[in-house]
């Protein structure tokens, strides 16, 4: 990429922090971002996980899947929709001229998504232990949070590669569809076992299915194929990273 980037004049850490904060702040000010990413998972968890849930353990297992929805949403939208807009408005070119390296920009954006994920998870976990009466061991809470927050990485990369390619006018719509398909068919809205057989098979080709399996494993409901799920997610992450890198190169070449 460009070699004539200005040399950083401020310590890189402070720049990262400032960029993350700016990114976080601008997202906070955008209702079209906050509403679907915050309100949806919390509202639906309250409905399906707490009000309508029956049988022991539903509040806990739905916490695993709705927590993922809560993290995946900001990651897809935060990268996808805003990058598409920034690319077209020329902000991205501006970004490339700034002293912050490309990875710093991406890191800050990812950190923003993770921060949002933390807000959603904090509220969901609060609902789970309060009205949901979910009890997990400390190691399970930590593993659950880690597995869910880590999902921001592949999903952020997917959002980025979409945002770098899609026109800003259609980015929101397309990413919404991608989000819903990944969440619903990956078994995060409803357990994959109740889907028709064809869809059950299809689910295994979605990264969200494997994320769900990992989050369930974190709370002691794993299916035993931990390494398989980790491997598949690693492959997806690599794939999305390649797509994002190529998209970036394309956007730069223009």
């Amino acid at each position: 990429m460009s070699l004539d980037r200005p040399r950083p004049s401020a310590p890189i850490l402070r720049m990262l922090l400032t960029e993350t904060a700016a990114s976080f702040l601008s997202s906070l000010r955008s209702p079209s971002f906050i509403l679907p990413t915050l309100a949806f998972p919390i509202g639906f968890y309250a409905l399906f996980g707490l009000v309508l849930s029956r049988g022991e353990g539903a509040a806990a297992s739905l916490l695993a899947s709705f927590g993922l929805i809560g993290v995946i949403g900001p990651a897809l939208f935060g990268f996808g929709v805003s990058v598409a807009a920034e690319r077209e408005s020329g902000e991205l070119d501006l970004q490339r001229l700034s002293p912050l390296p490309v990875w710093g920009f991406l890191f800050a954006r990812l950190a923003m998504c993770v921060l949002f994920g933390m807000i959603v998870l904090a509220i969901l976990y609060g609902l789970a232990v309060g009205p949901g009466n979910v009890r997990l061991a400390r190691t399970q809470w930590l593993a659950l949070a880690a597995s869910q927050l880590a999902s921001a990485i592949p999903m952020g990369l997917l959002g980025l590669s979409l945002g770098l390619r899609l026109p800003s006018q259609s980015a929101g719509g397309v990413i919404n569809v991608v989000f819903l398909v990944l969440a619903a068919l990956g078994g995060l809205w409803l357990p994959v076992q109740i889907l028709p057989e064809v869809l059950q098979r299809f689910a295994q080709f979605l990264p969200t299915f494997h994320m769900g399996a990992l989050s369930l494993a974190a709370i002691g409901r794993g299916d035993g194929a931990l390494w398989l799920h980790l491997g598949v997610l690693g492959a997806f992450t690599a794939l999305f990273a390649i797509l994002a890198a190529r998209g970036w190169a394309r956007a730069c070449a223009r």
């Binding site: 400032t18 904060a21 976080f24 353990g57 921060l115 933390m118 904090a122 061991a137 399970q140 059950q200």
Partner: protein, 593 residues
């Protein structure tokens, strides 16, 4: 909002989130808390294979067997248990059970630390399997399970009210197996018989059965079969099946047994349930044994009650035993399993009866002990189970005496450890509110009772049946029950029930009462009083009564319901069945005396 505040939040948010994770109400920790060390000294050890030649000292710490030797220095902090005259066994494995309700503590109190479930509702699977890998279960048995079973529409397994995905064609097999694995099935259980005239249950055909075996093997899972007919068992083994979950009753050809032995096929005879279904009394003996009685929960007592008439024809137990004898003689792997909680059996308790039945069928006590420890661990590839070895999981049973000489010694349990922690032997269960003699319902105004709760229709639809019931109050002030009993459920009934609260949560203690009395008339037939105890998953206790077209007084003593624990009655029902047919019954003046 200034940028500064926002910068602060970037740092504060993760810190706060991490703080929250640590502040969330902790559950029992995933790992057992490092128990104080326990030293069992001077104890005979059956290690899963054989009785060790000399008494041992066994050190338990942190959920594991830390060390075992004839002579060990005992650390100061260790709790000492003198094992002189006692025998230490690996936690016992029941290789054939069904888990409904809260029964795993019942199993642990009887030294059964692992149950291999052969069919349960798939939605309860994950919860049952929880904790088996990380050693976090310390007061209940762990579970591995087949989950849903493979059967035909209307086949065996469909009669319990658990929704079942049935199949009929070989090309459905792989998808079916894959869905079970996704649900959490640890192996595949297939119900298969050769079709016979007048058979109550439908069955999948031979090609579908063979396709299921191949589909399970394609995914590295064991394929097991419920095949009671000799021909069915033969077909299953020819298709490459790995194990039989019951011993067939019909004589098995010698060459079939030889081939099964050569291929390493195992059999779980489940003589306990076969004995109970043939009208045997082994279950009743367990119920009455002073070694067991104090450790039996209400649920165990109710399921141990033997059926009121044999389900199996005479001679079936002898046939099963003869087959076990032949299989054992040929050197086949035999695993101890009970099929609890079928009528006449109970989780935990019945495994001890099974060990006795196996020795009666030709196994030595040591061979019977292997059948409940190392043999099932090997057959199901559960390497951490079924053996006592340094570094292994501390699932242990201490019994008084030497079960390698006298198998009944397994019932004299002194202590059970799960993951290094002692299993509580006391039973915690709800107590009903005592009732005094009282009028219950005179039906002068509606369907009400003295408990403020109405009489309601009840049918076997509760367990998946098809019977119908209508309950009305007649103009002259009687309760009229009408409808039709239809076959379909495991046991068919239809009638009216009265619980002591609308949600069936209230329990009553009827020990201070002698009988339930009411007036009745209707279609001349046999009706029954059903009494639902605390645990609704067992079969309800019942007593029959006869009526005719004229009013007569019916009096049924509570003692006529031997399997009911009178200290915890949840509901009663007056019902027709299990014989199919239309019925009409009028009831008046119900009272408790």
């Amino acid at each position: 909002m200034s940028l500064r505040v926002s910068t602060f939040s970037v740092l504060a948010l993760p810190a706060g989130f991490l703080g929250l994770l640590f502040a969330l109400p902790g559950a029992p920790a995933a790992a057992p808390k490092a128990a104080d060390a326990i030293a069992i000294t001077n104890v005979s050890v059956f290690d899963g294979e054989a009785l060790l030649p000399a008494p041992q000292t066994v050190m338990i710490r942190g959920g594991k067997i830390e060390a075992m030797a004839a002579n060990l220095p005992i650390p100061k902090d260790a709790q000492r248990i003198d094992g002189k005259g006692d025998t230490l066994l690996p936690g016992l494995i029941d290789a054939h059970t069904h888990i409904y309700g809260d029964v795993l503590k019942d199993a642990a109190r009887f030294g059964v630390t692992l149950e291999l479930d052969m069919f349960t509702a798939p939605q309860s699977l994950r919860a049952l399997q929880a904790g088996r890998e990380d050693g976090s279960n310390v007061d209940r048995a762990d579970v591995y399970s087949a989950g849903m079973l493979a059967t035909a529409p209307g086949g065996h397994g469909t009669e319990y009210g658990v929704p079942i995905e049935t199949l009929t064609k070989p090309d459905q097999a792989q998808g079916w197996v894959d869905r079970r694995i996704a649900e959490g099935s640890d192996w595949i259980k297939i119900v298969y018989e050769r079709p016979r005239p007048n058979e109550r249950y439908a069955t999948i055909d031979q090609p579908t059965m063979a396709a299921l075996v191949a589909a399970a093997h394609a995914r590295g899972k064991l394929a097991l079969a419920h095949a009671l007919g000799a021909g069915a068992a033969q077909d299953f083994l020819a298709a490459g099946g790995d194990g039989l979950v019951h011993v067939p009753v019909e004589p098995l050809p010698t060459e079939m047994i030889e081939r099964a032995k050569a291929r390493g096929v195992f059999v779980i005879p489940t003589l306990s349930v076969q004995e109970a279904f043939a009208g045997g009394t082994q279950g009743g003996e367990v119920l009455m044994s002073p070694d067991s009685r104090a450790r039996l929960s209400r649920t165990q007592k109710s399921t141990l009650a033997v059926p009121d008439r044999p389900y199996f024809p005479a001679g079936s137990l002898e046939g099963a035993q003869a087959n076990v004898r032949a299989m054992h003689g040929a050197g086949m792997v035999i695993l101890a399993g009970t099929d609890a909680p079928n009528p006449g059996t109970a989780h935990g308790a019945s495994l001890h009866a099974e060990l006795r039945l196996l020795t009666a069928a030709g196994l030595t006590p040591i061979e019977a002990l292997r059948a409940a420890t190392s043999a099932p661990a090997d057959a199901f590839k559960l390497s951490a189970r079924g053996r006592i070895k340094a570094g292994g999981q501390a699932d242990l049973v201490l019994v008084s005496g030497d079960p390698t000489k006298d198998i009944s010694a397994t019932q004299r349990i002194k202590a059970v450890w799960r993951n290094g922690l002692s299993v509580p032997m006391q039973i915690v269960q709800a107590q009903g509110v005592a009732l005094a003699p009282m009028a219950v319902s005179d039906f002068q105004s509606g369907l009400a009772s003295a408990f403020g709760v109405d009489w309601h229709p009840t049918t076997d639809a509760m367990i998946g049946g098809n019977s119908t019931a209508k309950v009305i109050r007649t103009p002259d002030g009687n309760l009229r029950l009408s409808g039709e009993v239809k076959p379909g459920a495991f046991t068919a009934w239809a009638g009216a029930s009265l619980a002591f609260s609308e949600d069936w949560s209230a329990l009553k203690d009827v020990r201070g009462l002698s009988a339930i009395v009411f007036r009745a008339r209707g279609t001349p037939a046999s009706f029954r009083l059903m009494a639902f105890g605390e645990n609704l998953s067992g079969i309800p206790a019942e007593a029959r009564f006869q009526i005719g077209p004229e009013w007569r007084e019916v009096r049924i003593a509570w003692s006529a319901l031997p399997s009911l624990d009178p200290s915890a009655l949840r509901a009663i029902a007056l019902a027709a069945g299990p014989e199919a047919g239309r019925y009409e019954l009028e009831i008046d003046d119900v009272r408790f005396e």
